[in-house]
């Protein structure tokens, strides 16, 4: 089919890059935002604007909250098809409960799983969640969507399409294609070292766009490669569920062996037992970490088989000083507080796997590296976007002559995934501030409305890009690019302004209090408005200059 290796790689790079590049834009852009997902949460949920807190006393603060928690009506309705007969009236047996936090979380996430005796899968529990203020145990309103960690972050690995994990599969294919595009890109690029630092904005737009595509692709190559690869590794269990299908019997056997080896009971004993002081267990775990010279904050605390003689408590360290998600879990008998087991030091494979997944999930405390990751993610966006523009620039004149709409459609989609995506995110932030604190009865939940604002803004951006793409079919620049840049320049400062009006936290206040989560997002919004204005001005100049060049060329050709 292809005359040479290089041509086969070029074909692959062009067509796979084009089709899955749109997905990759979403992944890279919202992945870059997810580096600061907790900070975006602070901006979106004003009740949670205080300093990060350690996990509070279980005995005094968490236990009373857990005792009040019950599954929601929605969760009960959602699980109903997966039980034999009706759902139970009450949920007295707690299978598992726990708390999870990071060094960037002021609020604390709690989860609890209740036993459902008549569930079709006896292992399945019904879950309830709550977000609390760890300083006093007060619950946050549960209709508040944490836009960063509950919307942008899952968007970047699942597109928030959950039906049969379809979104995760699409993102996975895009990640594989990213790896293939990087290798084939290196094969196609003839002067990888000679043009390592080369960007010539003064040359023709086709040339300068290709320069920028190569530059951003090559200098951040290790970042692009490892983030695509580690993203796949994190979800390996979804993409290759070998251990839960073909090798399930082997898996079951290994779990039984493991339970026997670790001494942590796999099932309940059926004998009721009280709960000893969890605070004492946590203090003991911290003392043991301290003796090993490790930072001693608790990141994850779980109770298994609650209220049963087989119950145990697991305390995990928050891995802030390593790339690996080191847990150093220590397990105690719930009834007595007696030490059951200390997880052994991880072996080679564990270390490798935790390094690879940890470098992507970034639980560490390192602000420079976080910002460098944002730079890497945005560099990826520039690389993909310039790929689209190069595709269009290379073909639009020819398509215009032949009357093909291909370049026009690709250009409209490129506008939608570059500026349109920013507009969608802004639409969501603005809706978050404009929606009243309590919604009228009968309205959808607040978080749902914010999501509609996101998808609605994106759809509008797409319609606008398509409607204004006419000039591309004539070989010229689409005015949609500049128009959407101007829209960003208006909406981004509007979000900052609304944050000021609604919450009272204007930049002078947040900056003087050094409250970076909110100040940082406000500053980034203003910066993107500035970049958008510059881009709009540049596009205007180019649009004015372009017809002149075309006429000059035509005249030269006629002469």
């Amino acid at each position: 089919m292809f005359q040479s290796f290089r041509l086969s790689m070029a074909w692959l790079h062009t067509w796979f890059g084009l089709t899955l590049g749109f997905v990759l834009m979403v992944v890279f852009f919202f992945g870059a935002l997810s580096v600061f997902d907790r900070e975006i949460d602070r901006w979106a949920v004003p009740q949670s604007r205080f300093e990060p807190q350690p996990i509070p006393s279980f005995d005094k603060i968490l236990r009373p909250v857990f005792e009040q928690m019950q599954p929601t009506q929605e969760a009960i309705a959602e699980m109903a098809p997966r039980v034999n007969g009706p759902m139970p009236e009450t949920y007295p047996v707690i299978e598992r409960m726990g708390a999870y936090t990071t060094h960037r979380d002021p609020v604390l996430n709690l989860f609890i799983g209740f036993d459902v005796p008549n569930a079709k899968d006896p292992e399945e529990a019904i879950w309830a969640y709550r977000t609390i203020d760890p300083r006093n145990g007060a619950s946050l309103p549960d209709d508040r969507l944490k836009i960063g960690s509950e919307f942008f972050y899952p968007l970047h690995y699942s597109l928030n399409l959950h039906w049969r994990d379809i979104g995760t599969w699409i993102v996975g294919s895009a990640a594989l294609v990213m790896l293939a595009a990087l290798v084939s890109g290196v094969v196609m690029h003839r002067k990888i070292f000679r043009e390592f630092f080369t960007f010539r904005p003064g040359k023709t737009s086709q040339r300068s766009v290709l320069d920028l595509h190569n530059l951003t692709g090559v200098v951040a190559l290790p970042f692009h490669f490892f983030f695509a690869l580690t993203g796949l590794v994190i979800f390996a269990g979804i993409y290759f569920p070998v251990g839960h299908t073909q090798l399930d019997p082997l898996h079951e056997m290994s779990e039984r062996l493991e339970a026997a080896e670790t001494g942590l009971p796999h099932d309940r004993a059926g004998v009721a037992a009280p709960l000893a002081s969890v605070d004492a267990m946590v203090a003991d775990a911290q003392r043991r970490w301290h003796e090993k010279g490790m930072a001693g904050e608790v990141g994850f605390l779980t109770l298994q088989h609650v209220g049963d003689a087989n119950g145990y408590v697991s305390v995990y360290r928050a891995g802030t000083d390593r790339i690996a998600l080191t847990g150093e879990g220590i397990h105690y008998k719930a009834a007595t507080g007696e030490l059951l087991r200390e997880d052994p030091a991880p072996g080679f494979v564990d270390n490798l796997n935790e390094f690879l997944t940890g470098l992507h999930l970034q639980h560490f405390r390192h602000w420079l590296l976080r910002w460098l990751y944002v730079l890497g993610g945005l560099t990826g966006c520039v690389c993909i976007a310039t790929g689209f523009i190069f595709f269009v620039e290379k073909r639009k004149r020819q398509h215009a002559k032949q009357g093909i709409q291909g370049a026009r459609l690709v250009d409209a989609l490129a506008v939608t995934t570059v500026t349109g995506m920013v507009l969608a995110a802004l639409g969501m932030l603005i809706a978050n501030k404009l929606l009243p604190d309590s919604l009228p009865a009968g309205w959808p939940p607040r978080g749902d409305l914010e999501q509609y604002a996101f998808w609605g803004s994106w759809l509008l951006a797409f319609i606008h890009a398509l409607a204004r793409s006419g000039p591309v079919a004539a070989g010229r620049l689409s005015p949609a690019w500049a128009e959407q840049c101007r829209a960003i320049a208006v909406l981004a400062p509007l979000a900052v302004l609304l944050n000021w009006i609604i919450t009272g936290d204007h930049l002078l206040r947040t900056l003087s209090a050094l409250y970076w989560p909110v100040a940082g997002l406000d500053l980034c919004l203003l910066a993107s408005a500035g970049v958008a204005l510059l881009a709009a001005a540049k596009l205007k100049r180019r649009a004015l200059a372009a017809p002149a060049i075309d006429t000059a060329k035509r005249e030269a050709a006629h002469a």
Partner: protein, 103 residues
């Protein structure tokens, strides 16, 4: 040296190292100093200097953090340094003269 100082110097060393490696290339030398050719000795000196600066940057990263973290920080500062040098070359190439004050 406190961590923040080490990391700042590491970042600067990466930028300078990338800058010297770029100046070792004829085209970029020409962008900064005009079209007179470099001598082979200058080229070698720039390459060695560039390499040493990048190595210094790695050393500082290792001094500031656990090796697993330092490796990532270093690789990302290389990318940031290369981008900074490339964009300086395309908009204000004259600024790179600071890397060779004698010339």
């Amino acid at each position: 040296m406190p961590e923040i100082m080490m990391l700042s110097v590491a970042m600067l060393a990466s930028i300078a190292g990338m800058g010297w490696l770029a100046l070792a290339m004829e085209a970029h030398w020409g962008q900064v100093f005009g079209p007179h050719a470099q001598r082979p000795r200058t080229i070698r000196g720039l390459r060695v200097g560039g390499g040493l600066a990048l190595a210094l940057s790695l050393g500082l990263c290792l001094g500031a953090d656990h090796p697993s973290m330092a490796a990532l920080v270093w690789i990302m500062t290389l990318a940031a340094g290369a981008l900074a040098v490339a964009f300086t070359l395309s908009w204000r190439p004259g600024l790179l003269r600071v890397l060779l004050p004698g010339i």
